[in-house]
């Protein structure tokens, strides 16, 4: 570091002054950077770190509502209850996993296929891209309300369409076995965000690579399987992680369709609805904190597993990870 230090001060006052300034600048060269990140840092502290720590603490208490001082430390009791005697916990986990397994791959596939189509050279491409992206801008509440009608057994548009191919009306929202597929269908509505990311990834693939495949006699299928998909794996990986995190937190459609009741036989009682019920309907904030911490740990473990196993299937062009 010595060679980076400023030169020794000379005798004149002016030079000394300049030298002091230089030294000050050198010593505090990171200050400006810290000042720039300060707003983010404070909000991170206030909106993430402190609530997380509070949540952690509350999960070991019987906190209901009101002053925190009233929260009584009960150790692991909340966790014991969750795993030993809460029938809704397993129901919520089961429903959420079902949804995640259905919604994430379907959403990815759907968004990827549409992105592939929108990556081709056709007239009016901008219009198509806008048209496919706009639905994802519709607020989830509004979209869910629209789907409440689309999924109506007797008058819904979806059943009308299905009836054209001879399928009997499906009781999307009134039979427990159809509730989760219905919510998965609703989730596809918001594919636009993933599609845009896929599209950006597709446009990053160098043209000459496709030309190389063509020279080797490869057709569209080979290009897709041997070039596009491998080169898109980092983007697929990103969308997969984001999709899984989002799917574990599904709430709005179930809340709009069934309120906090969970629908027929609790088929729409997703994990987040269970947390909400415990926090705001049953006023068991400590218990809800424990539930949310379990969700956090579950998502964290799942994400870590995905990251750890990603080197087996995610291909980075630079060779890095």
């Amino acid at each position: 570091m010595a060679e980076l230090m400023p030169a020794a001060p000379n005798a004149t006052a002016q030079t000394m002054q300049v030298s002091r300034l230089t030294r000050f600048r050198y010593r505090h060269r990171y200050l400006l950077g810290y000042l720039f990140i300060l707003p983010w840092f404070l909000s991170f502290l206030w909106f993430d770190v402190i609530p997380f720590c509070l949540n952690l603490y509350l999960s070991f208490t019987n906190y209901s509502v009101g002053p925190l001082a009233k929260a009584k430390w009960i150790g692991l009791e909340n966790y014991a209850t969750i795993f030993a005697s809460d029938p809704r916990f397993l129901k919520g986990v089961g429903n959420t996993l079902y949804y995640a397994i259905g919604a994430v791959p379907l959403g990815l596939a759907f968004a990827f296929v549409i992105a592939l189509l929108l990556n081709s050279r056709v007239r009016g491409l901008g219009v198509y891209r806008t048209a496919f992206y706009v639905p994802s801008l519709v607020p989830a509440v509004a979209a869910s309300l629209i789907f409440l009608w689309i999924l109506n057994t007797n008058y819904g548009a979806l059943n009308r369409l299905l009836s054209l191919v001879g399928i009997e009306p499906i009781r999307w929202l009134s039979r427990p076995e159809w509730v989760k597929p219905a919510v998965i269908i609703v989730s596809l509505w918001g594919f636009g965000a993933q599609m845009i990311i896929f599209l950006a990834g597709l446009q990053d693939i160098p043209r000459e690579l496709y030309e190389a495949v063509e020279i080797d006699g490869g057709g569209a299928w080979r290009k897709l399987i041997h070039l596009t998909i491998p080169l898109m794996t980092p983007v697929i990986f990103f969308n997969l992680i984001v999709g899984i995190i989002g799917s574990f937190q599904v709430f709005t459609p179930a809340y709009i369709f069934f309120g906090t009741d969970g629908g027929p036989l609790n088929a729409g009682l997703f994990y987040m609805v269970h947390i909400y019920n415990n926090a705001f309907r049953f006023f068991k904030m400590g218990y809800a904190s424990a539930l949310s911490l379990i969700l956090f740990i579950f998502i964290l473990i799942f994400t870590l597993i995905l990251v750890r196993t990603s080197d087996r299937w995610v291909f980075y062009t630079g060779g890095g990870r």
Binding site: R27, H28, Y30, L31, Y34, L38, F41, L42, L45, W46, I50, S64, V65, G66, P67, L68, K70, S85, P87, R88, L148, W149, N152, T153, N154, Y155, P169, R171, L173, S174, R175, P176, F258, T260, D261, G262, P264, L265, N266, Y276, N277, A279, F280, R281, F282, F283
Partner: protein
């Protein structure tokens, strides 16, 4: 000497600054100074020392009233507040009308904050929960000072909803909000089906004929429904409303033991399942019939002659007046009112309604607000709930009866509603069921049991036994503290 600001120093400083800010924000407010006794207004009775009246000379006391009286009710509430302020010039009330979305969340966080509104509209179970957590004040002392006799002023089913743990926490306003003892029926549909429109069913058994004759189906889809005792998606009320018409109850009087698997309860659920399967071809057909439309919207099923019997509470008249004014004006031919049918096979059974397992509104006063604001808040709550310019004005304008008995003697009610005597009878036989702060959780088990039975995945008795076991565990834990 180095003055380098290391990363560690920076983080430490930022941490201290943020932590300090957090602590400052979360610190409890200084305890409000007790209002000086010398400034207390003279009161009617020999006043206990606890509540002091607002000092008139110290300027206006500002209180906020957090409520959910939106839409056409907003100007009515504004008028009530204006009348209150005219009578109490030293108190200024802000109408803090709040959107309905995420109400549970908004209400809980407002109450839990260090600066709650001085008066908050609260449901019965919320009130009990707040009371249990020590977040609101009981109003017994204020009532004593005021000298009013709440047992004479209100219907028993209404005032008892606001009592918990031996104390009174609010006045009822408006009426309970549960499914009351009355129902509205569609005379035109009755006539078209060959039924006597002046003889609505009084018993479960008489409902069979209505269900059978009025219903119109297209395949599995019910286009016109005669009567559906489930009345929408299954809920706790599906069972309880009929159980109390079969001489049953939710729990024992002391609210310590659930009785939802009593012989009466099992019989009630078996009847619901049998009725639904026999006349509607299963529960799912009913749910599909009810999905979509909002029954208080202009295209509501009753207004559009798609529903013979509508299980409602007393707010139905207001909705009928607003959404189907032509129908409303023609009670002779369009609609009638009767009491909820009971099980004629049970000699002890009679018509009843419940004044709200969870939804029975009252106005509560948070403990966290300053003493003088609490006293001003009580004045407002009492005006709102017991004054002619409060509850009577507010509810008459909505064509609904009041929990305050004297309001309902207004002869104009009868001019608008020829079935007014039936409405009053319904209010008398509405019951306040034994409920605890954990009722919402218990209700969720009962709802599931009803669904299991209706969907045929469990026998009624087994489903109710399971719900009782689950609910009782919650109840036992609550009473154990």
């Amino acid at each position: 000497m180095s003055h380098k600001l290391s990363r560690r120093d920076f983080l430490r400083l930022a941490g201290i600054a943020t932590g300090g800010a957090a602590l400052a924000a979360c610190a409890p407010q200084p305890a409000p100074a007790p209002a000086p006794a010398a400034k207390a207004e003279p009161t009617k009775a020999a006043a206990p020392a606890a509540p002091t009246a607002a000092p008139a000379a110290a300027g206006k006391i500002k209180i906020e009233f957090m409520n959910w009286w939106g839409a056409q009710r907003r100007p009515l509430m504004d008028q009530v507040i204006a009348d209150f302020m005219a009578a109490n010039p030293n108190i200024e009330v802000t109408n803090q009308e709040t959107p309905w979305d995420n109400r549970d969340q908004v209400a809980a966080t407002a109450m839990a904050s260090s600066t709650p509104p001085a008066v908050m509209m609260s449901t019965r179970v919320e009130t009990y929960k707040y009371a249990k957590e020590g977040l609101i004040i009981p109003i017994d002392d204020h009532v004593k000072i005021s000298g009013i006799d709440v047992n004479k002023l209100f219907y028993p089913g209404e005032i008892n909803n606001q009592r918990w743990n031996g104390k009174l926490w609010a006045f009822p306003m408006p009426t309970g909000g549960g499914n009351s003892s009355l129902y509205i029926y569609n005379k035109a549909l009755f006539k078209a089906a060959g039924l006597d429109p002046e003889k609505p069913p009084k018993t479960w058994q008489e409902m069979d004929e209505v269900a059978q004759k009025v219903i119109k189906k297209k395949g599995n889809a019910i286009e016109v429904m005669g009567v559906d005792p489930v009345g929408g998606s299954a809920s706790v009320s599906t069972l309880i409303n009929w159980l109390i018409c079969n001489n049953g109850n939710l729990a024992t009087e002391d609210a310590k033991t659930l009785t939802i698997n009593s012989p009466e309860a099992v019989e009630t659920l078996e009847w619901l399942v049998e009725f639904t399967n026999k006349f509607h071809g299963g529960y799912s057909n009913c749910v599909d019939f009810w999905t979509g439309n909002n029954d208080t919207a202009p295209d509501g099923r009753f207004y559009k002659d798609r529903l013979g019997i509508w299980w409602v509470n007393v707010s139905a008249f207001s909705h009928l007046k607003t959404q189907a004014p032509d129908k409303y004006k023609d009670p002779q031919n369009a609609w009638g009112v009767a009491l909820r049918p009971y099980n004629a096979k049970n000699p002890k059974a009679a018509s009843h309604g419940e004044t709200g397992l969870a939804f029975a509104w009252g106005q509560v006063i948070p403990k966290a607000v300053a003493k003088e604001k609490q006293d001003a808040a009580y004045k407002f709550v009492e005006f709102l709930s017991t004054n002619n310019k409060g509850v009577c004005y507010f509810l008459f304008a909505q064509d609904r009866p009041a929990p305050l008995i004297s309001c309902n003697a207004n002869p104009d009610y009868k001019k608008n509603n020829p079935y007014w005597d039936t409405v009053l009878k319904a209010l008398e036989i509405d019951m306040s069921l034994p409920v605890t702060p954990v009722q919402t959780e218990i209700s969720s088990f009962i709802k599931e049991a009803v669904e299991k039975a209706l969907l045929g995945t469990a026998k009624p008795k087994d489903a109710l036994d399971t719900a009782t076991k689950q609910g009782q565990a919650v109840l036992d834990k609550y009473w154990k503290g």
